[in-house]
Symmetry: C2
Subunit: 331 residues, 2 copies
């Protein structure tokens, strides 16, 4: 009777089946082996309930079938959706996913990157706001939504087109005086293009717009003040609002409700991301929808792609508008 506490290895299987180690290895890896041998090995595997140790495999092959995903958190529905689809894409390709939620903490991000490199993952997909991470060139990296460096490929939705689409939608829906609300630093990252696109769209349609940009630390209640100022005796002086994310739109909708402003009657609101409550069918507001599934698939394709040289530095995926009840029905 052998020690029961250590899981069976190929050697055990070989002994049980009365064949050699190499034969077992071939059976396990689907290499050609004489049928009677194959049967014996298969029976032994079944009997011992053998499972390959993929760490030993990884040690040999320096391939681990594992990809790390760095993301600020999983609470934001957009991130959650991303995690979900990347996970599914990886599974489809028989890859495992190491999840690293960073809370946008720079040190934490760096800790994770180091940890993840120690773990010899086959690649990293990362959504990070930190422009100066030290990423070892030896491990493939694909960035989401942020161009970190020309040498690191980035996958994003077409933020510029999204901003423009929002402006044009509002114009189409009859708005005359709109506002753009955003938060975050003025760094030139992808989401900033939403602003440029919006400005462009407004210009195209001769749409007048106000803009309110909050810095990172400022409370969202500033927006409430902003909105309050637009409530005059003659009614609400804005008829359209574009929020740079659905989260902001969500807050703005609350403020408008508190202020007694009717949506979409008095003012129409468009967000950005395509957030759906509980992953259901319902958008929480009218919104510019990011193609999350395509973004996920593209990231996974890129990270698993062999020749890194062929990787483009920025891939923009198309967005679309979706009615979530905070705009008037289209005619």
């Amino acid at each position: 009777m052998k020690q029961t506490h250590t899981p069976p290895t190929m050697k055990d299987v070989a002994a049980e089946a009365g064949v050699s180690l190499g034969t077992v290895s071939k059976v396990v890896n689907g290499l050609p082996v004489g049928e009677p041998y194959r049967q014996k090995v298969l029976r032994a595997i079944d009997k011992l309930n053998y499972q390959v140790n993929s760490y030993a495999q990884g040690l040999k092959a320096s391939r681990t079938n594992t990809i790390a995903l760095l993301i600020p958190n999983t609470r934001n529905p957009f991130f959650a959706e991303l995690v979900h689809h990347i996970n599914r894409q990886l599974l489809k390709r028989k890859y495992r996913m190491l999840l690293c939620t960073t809370e946008s903490d720079t040190d934490l991000e760096q800790t994770y990157i180091t940890m993840v490199q120690q773990n010899k993952v086959d690649g990293i997909i990362g959504l990070t706001y930190n422009p100066n991470l030290v990423i070892d060139a030896s491990v493939p990296f694909v960035s989401i939504d942020r161009v970190l460096s020309p040498s690191l490929p980035c996958v994003a939705c077409d933020n510029f087109a999204g901003g423009q689409l929002a402006a044009e939608k509002l114009a189409d829906l009859g708005c005359k005086h709109v506002a753009f609300l955003r938060i975050g630093s003025a760094l030139n990252n992808e989401p900033n293009k939403r602003k440029s696109g919006f400005e462009n769209g407004c210009a195209n349609r001769n749409l007048h717009y106000d803009m309110m940009i909050l810095n990172d630390g400022e409370p969202l209640t500033r927006f409430r003040t902003f909105l309050e100022e637009h409530r005059t005796a003659e009614g609400f002086t804005l008829d359209g609002i574009f929020c740079v994310t659905d989260y902001i739109a969500y807050c703005v909708l609350r403020f408008l409700d508190e202020l007694g402003v009717d949506v979409p009657g008095e003012v129409q609101v468009i967000g950005f991301d395509g957030t759906r409550a509980f992953g259901s069918e319902n958008y929480i507001c009218s919104t510019i929808v990011q193609p999350v599934e395509e973004i996920a698939a593209t990231c996974v394709d890129l990270i698993l792609q062999e020749d890194i040289a062929a990787k483009p530095s920025l891939i923009c995926l198309p967005v679309r508008f979706a009615d979530g009840g905070t705009t008037r029905p289209e005619t």
Copy 2:
């Protein structure tokens, strides 16, 4: 000049530092080593940018510092929150997390469990609705919210107390005729205790209640019909509703809005889970809050605990009520 494409190993470091392999290993693992040697090794590590290969480590130690988390998805905010906190707890203990989203697909779950065992993870934390998974006894398993087997420890919130609390809250808030809305099979899993607790609470307070239970496949619009039936000429005949999850509460609130029933004026609604929009401070409805952070910490504690024998089979964590605006202010 050595081959540049393979990452440096301990051997390389040893050569660079002019010491032996064992010495490097000791330095890396913080074992006592003569200071001048230590310095030499450290310098070499720095120069070569050496990182330990934790797969090789795992092969030696049969410990991988990795825990797998099985969860239906990350889109449901409660799950997302769970993922987030488990991830943080694991990181705090220097463990990595393999995320496996299963969509409650039985085959997928089994696939993942097998995959994960091949990967020789140190343990699995799983939230699964599938009662007959084959889980190798050799890998520690902790279940969330479902008692899968007496031998597998389970961590859950006190669902019974939660149901009871909901009933008592509604009674305290002046309700006379309430309803309980739930979905899902009638299996005797943890969340079913919410029902029992609710019934118990109603009995305690002599609160009359209706109950509507949907089977797994049925559309939530059935609830709409149910609600519609309670809208009579004399007004809405229910003054309180307890929904078994916040998601259901969310849908119910939409239905009530469509039906023109005022919340919390005409009817007060309580959900279950403690879901907050975008992970912000705001609960999406008045709710029985699950102690997600404690659940996460408890799971991680349990899974990392050495002696499996000492693990209790069910740990219930306390819940609390939170006002989310769909109940009247407490006096």
